[in-house]
């Protein structure tokens, strides 16, 4: 297959570009809003008051810093590397998503907009968005695929309880990708009054950079916490990758520490055929989807493929452009974990550590289970538990046959 390209030149110095990936591929109507957002963000980044407010809210509302937990019983059971868990599952609303939502909410306030829209897959970003909208007094509309509404019913109710309007999206695969399309359609219509609070390191510039910046605190904290606990860097860091916000959040601080292996875990779903998984680096190729140039699961004619994952949050045909770049320069490695492996990892973590991870995060745990036994006892594996599993109890109950113990 020919390498598809829209930007051959090595313009990685250009803002919003990660090597050849990233950029800003949207209808003209949205360009002015993206420029406005970029300016507002650049200004806020350098504004000490903005940063102070952000830090204050992260500490007093969101629940940062999150703990770093040594997973002693899991480590013992696997018999290899020492496993540490970064506990984003303990944040308010139950996942890392709130880090970004708080940051963007402060920007919305600065830009003087009053209406916020968002897309959501697993519902965690939707809940986090509904939460900050309640906190700041913004009108909130969340788009969600009807398939995801069915499998993440609890989160739909939480969003409504928080005062958000949840609009079901019935097109395509009725999942995250379709919810983003519909959110983009709303945004292009109401762009003058509305901010699109995008929930991952996806979409047009400045989103991939801005959302990463709001999440990089995960890696910064983990590095300091690990230094205190072990006095050294981890051998490897493992995180699940849907769009890639929690993974880039924990990776970013370590990118320059070349010895630290960065491992992203994609949804291997239920098979290797196109349509059966969401592993963009297995069968995907460079393309343009929903504002950004990155790896995309697509057919030979450039039509976007359907995807499958037991976890709604990983069920997406493209991946953040910075991950595409980290992949191509071999700085990060991307591996799949299947639905079954993620479910098995969920019960193992629950029974060894008393932590029920979100099915998304369970993909990262699954990779740790494969890798730890092959590593030396002196080595350290840092696993990002990006969210908790309460929202997935229904799916777990359907899929896990408990042995009655």
């Amino acid at each position: 297959m020919a390498t598809a390209s829209v930007a051959k030149s090595r313009n990685s110095k250009k803002p919003g570009r990660f090597g050849v990936y990233g950029g800003r591929y949207v209808p003209e109507t949205l360009m002015a809003a993206l420029e406005e957002l970029e300016r507002a963000y650049e200004k806020a980044k350098k504004d000490r008051k903005f940063q102070q407010r952000l830090q204050h809210l992260l500490r007093t509302y969101v629940g940062r810093p999150t703990p770093l937990t040594f997973a002693g019983r899991l480590t013992q059971k696997l018999g290899g590397a020492k496993i540490y868990l970064k506990r984003e599952d303990l944040l308010h609303t139950g996942a890392h998503k709130i880090n970004n939502c708080i940051g963007q909410a402060l920007l919305v306030e600065r830009m003087g907009k009053t209406r916020v829209i968002a897309e959501t897959g697993a519902g965690q970003h939707g809940v986090a968005t509904a939460t900050v909208c309640a906190l700041f007094g913004f009108e909130c509309v969340v788009y969600m695929g009807t398939e995801d509404m069915r499998r993440q019913e609890l989160n739909v109710f939480r969003m409504r309880l928080l005062g958000a309007e949840v609009r079901g999206v019935d097109s395509g695969s009725k999942t995250l990708k379709d919810a983003i399309n519909e959110a983009m359609r709303d945004w292009v219509t109401n762009v003058r009054t509305t901010h699109y609070l995008l929930g991952s390191v996806l979409g047009a510039h400045p989103y991939p950079t801005m959302v990463r910046d709001f999440h990089k605190i995960i890696g910064q904290e983990a590095k300091a916490q690990l230094r205190k606990a072990e006095g050294k860097l981890p051998t490897a860091i493992i995180a699940c990758v849907g769009g890639g916000s929690n993974s880039i959040g924990i990776f970013h601080e370590f990118i320059k520490d070349k010895k630290v292996q960065l491992i992203g875990v994609e949804a291997g779903g239920r098979g290797e055929k196109l349509g059966e998984h969401a592993a963009r680096f297995r069968g995907g190729s460079p393309g343009v989807l929903q504002g950004t140039h990155s790896y995309v699961l697509q057919d030979d004619h450039g039509q976007i493929a359907l995807t499958h994952s037991v976890s709604a949050g990983l069920d997406y045909p493209s991946i953040g452009p910075e991950h595409a770049w980290l992949h191509d320069i071999n700085r990060a490695e991307y591996v799949p974990a299947s639905d079954a492996e993620a479910l098995a990892a969920t019960s193992l973590l629950a029974r060894t550590e008393g932590i029920i991870p979100a099915l998304e995060s369970a993909h990262a745990v699954a990779e740790a289970i494969k890798r730890a036994p092959k590593m030396r006892k002196s080595e350290i594996l840092l696993v990002n538990v990006s969210g908790r599993g309460d929202k997935d109890i229904g799916i777990m109950r359907e899929n896990l046959k408990l042995d009655g113990k």
Partner: protein, 254 residues
């Protein structure tokens, strides 16, 4: 033939290729040309048409059910070109073009007799390589200008455009509207400062009154969803229904 809008009102007619099938699309286009369309926009169906309203979304789904591809659209252009010298534009989301390869696409489209290309989700800033490839093969590059475009952006759009400039009449997705928005006229006026190219106005145009109103200040009206909707509502007599509809659109002169 170069893109020309001699008549007033001039009509640019959009169809989603392969809806309901390619043979019918060909008949619809030939009927539209006979009814007086000056330029045909050959819409390439895409799985994720995020700039389109429900009518064109449904048309894309129908076309993709039997896997209508960019290759098919180029082949259709070649067939039309054998029978007509009407202006032919390929109207697509970027990904199918990138997937084929911009150079390969441009060569094939030119060879088939296509006059120009519009990529919905490609703003001028990201168009460097695209412009180089399209220019190399002598294809016109049509860009969108929007009510939200600043003057700085309009200047860039004017500079990158050849053939004509497509002014989006309002913020929003494609689709029919009762009333023509006021936004369009002021964008056209602002844009005129930066270009001598013809200007077409589209999004929401669905009646003879709309086309007549647009022809007062612009060179052409683009009609898309209203034509696609006519196709959807008239199974089995798509071509004649579209011809009739276009006759109505062009009936009221200024």
């Amino acid at each position: 033939m170069p893109l020309s809008f001699a008549k007033k009102p001039s009509l640019v007619a959009y169809v989603t290729c392969g809806d309901p099938d390619l043979a019918t699309t060909r008949d619809i286009i030939l009927a539209a040309i006979r009814a007086g369309a000056a330029v045909i926009e050959l819409g390439v169906p895409f799985s994720d048409p995020l700039a389109d309203g429900p009518v064109i979304q449904r048309a894309s789904e129908r076309a993709l059910r039997h896997h209508t591809s960019l290759e098919d659209v180029i082949a259709l252009a070649r067939e039309i070109r054998r029978q007509s010298d009407v202006g032919l534009i390929i109207f697509s989301y970027l990904n199918p073009l990138v997937r084929m390869g911009l150079g390969k696409f441009a060569a094939a489209a030119k060879e088939a007799g296509v006059d120009g290309v519009l990529a919905t989700d490609l703003p001028v800033e990201e168009a460097e390589e695209y412009l180089a490839e399209m220019r190399k093969h002598g294809l016109a590059t049509i860009f969108l200008a929007a009510p939200t475009s600043t003057d700085t952006r309009l200047k860039l759009i004017a500079r990158a455009s050849t053939g004509f400039v497509y002014v989006v009449s309002r913020t929003g997705v494609t689709g029919e509207r009762q009333q023509m928005p006021q936004d369009a006229k002021s964008v056209v006026q602002r844009l005129r400062k930066y270009t001598k190219l013809p200007i077409a106005v589209g999004f929401g145009i669905s009646t003879a009154e709309h086309t007549a109103a647009v022809s007062q200040y612009a060179d052409a009206a683009v009609v898309g969803s209203a034509i696609v909707h006519t196709i959807e509502r008239n199974p089995g007599k798509e071509a004649e229904s579209v011809a009739k509809f276009i006759n109505q659109l062009l009936a009221v002169g200024p």
